[in-house]
Symmetry: C2
DNA sequence: AAATAAATGTGATTTACATCACAAGAAAAG
DNA sequence: CTTTTCTTGTGATGTAAATCACATTTATTT
């Protein structure tokens, strides 16, 4: 697909720091690829050759653990997907899979490096994002290991509502097994807790469609476990 | 303390990319501070105003979790301590405490930013380290949540032996409570597992002094749980 | 539309740890 | 050197959540 990065409506915060000149140079060195639900965008263990950037859709980042997969996080558009794995290691340390139909822009790594060399504002923004996501991953890990399932599921529901879908009603295109892998619980436990939340009138579930009825209760459960 | 960064024997991989000129500029903008065992180097919740770099000693990075502290990791010299917390947020998102007597170099953040602007090799190295540590934190989180205590303790002992002390005998200046917070277990469980490892002839413990007798067993336990 | 596969719901059972409770050692403070 | 505080060891008890085992519902394929 022929690109014109200058006109791209989905520029990252970092790319917005680039000059017209630099964007013109970027255009021939990146490709946009569409993925269907369930498609693998990045596969753990393969060589990482490009920086991936999510323009549209929704994806999950996941790692093969010693016993089962762990879903590290759900990522929404306007975020880079493979920065640490592209820069930090030649081999991808995690997989990325489309949850909804998605559009990903793959940027040639040496071109990306050139941008870093040329434009300090760009670099600064990228570093900021790297740092933020590292801090976030520390915090997430603490919650994962210390909170119990009810609290973690409440967190996830709040995250979906507040950050990802920005709405009290949303459709989660992931199985309960995925949710389990996201909060380090078995799918049975997820099922039970979701049923409990429903029964208590905190959420309303119709298939994959979720409506949050009582956000305050969720916040309380998130805090108190 | 008056600095001469050019002559510094503890330069980071990144700082080694700096020119004499740049090092000269760096010198008046950083201070080296000594810390005794138990001293707080960075305190979660306070403003972060400097980049911290560990020259000598040993420190732990820890976060206050919802129920108890989590020791994120033990850091050995020639590593930055506060990059994500300094760049990613105005407020420190974690604490750093000296485990052994330590020397930390505090670098003024605007000077550090200048280096990033001036020297792309420096920047590249810093970014590499950021990415690596993010990947590492993903991996650690997976292990933390999926392995059981025996496996996690084996990991820690192997990490001490292979990476931190680079010796089969070492002195861990941390309590079993700390070890518990490092592997997400109670201090009682740590005590029990250590006793078990001792009984099985895998390690020899005399107070805080540990000798690894059977590394292969540890590796096996690390893998199989 | 029928057949097959995938995802969920729910009870019964098991388990790895936490927590509690207290004893005994080791360090630090007086 | 003695007292107090911190750290460790070890049993008994409790518990959140995994696992097992099916039943049932919802998708997908043919």
């Amino acid at each position: 697909m022929k690109n014109n990065c200058s006109l791209c409506d989905y520029k990252s915060a970092a790319a917005q720091k680039l000059t017209q000149e630099e964007l013109k140079h970027l255009a021939p060195n990146c490709v946009t690829v569409k993925f269907k639900k369930g498609d693998t965008i990045i596969r753990q263990g393969t060589y990482s050759t490009n920086v991936a950037y999510l323009k549209k859709g929704l994806v999950k980042i996941h790692i093969d653990g010693p016993y089962h997969v762990q879903v590290v996080r759900i990522v929404k558009p306007r975020n880079y997907l493979g920065l640490p794995t592209t820069f930090g290691d030649k081999i991808n340390q995690y997989s990325v899979t489309a949850i909804d139909e998605s559009e990903v822009c793959f940027i040639d790594i040496s071109t990306f490096r050139q941008m870093l060399q040329l434009n300090p504002d760009f670099t600064n923004q990228i570093m900021l994002e790297l740092c933020k996501s590292e801090l976030e991953s520390y915090q997430k890990c603490v919650n994962r290991t210390q909170k119990q399932i009810r609290g973690k599921l409440a967190d996830v529901l709040l995250d979906f509502s507040d950050n990802i879908f920005k709405s009290d009603t949303f459709t989660i295109n992931v199985t309960q097994e995925d949710l389990g892998n996201l909060v380090d619980a078995s799918r049975e436990s997820v099922s039970r807790v979701m049923a409990e939340f429903s029964k208590d009138g905190i959420i309303e579930v119709k298939g994959k469609h979720v409506k949050i009825l009582d956000k305050d209760s969720l916040k309380l459960i998130s805090k108190k476990g």
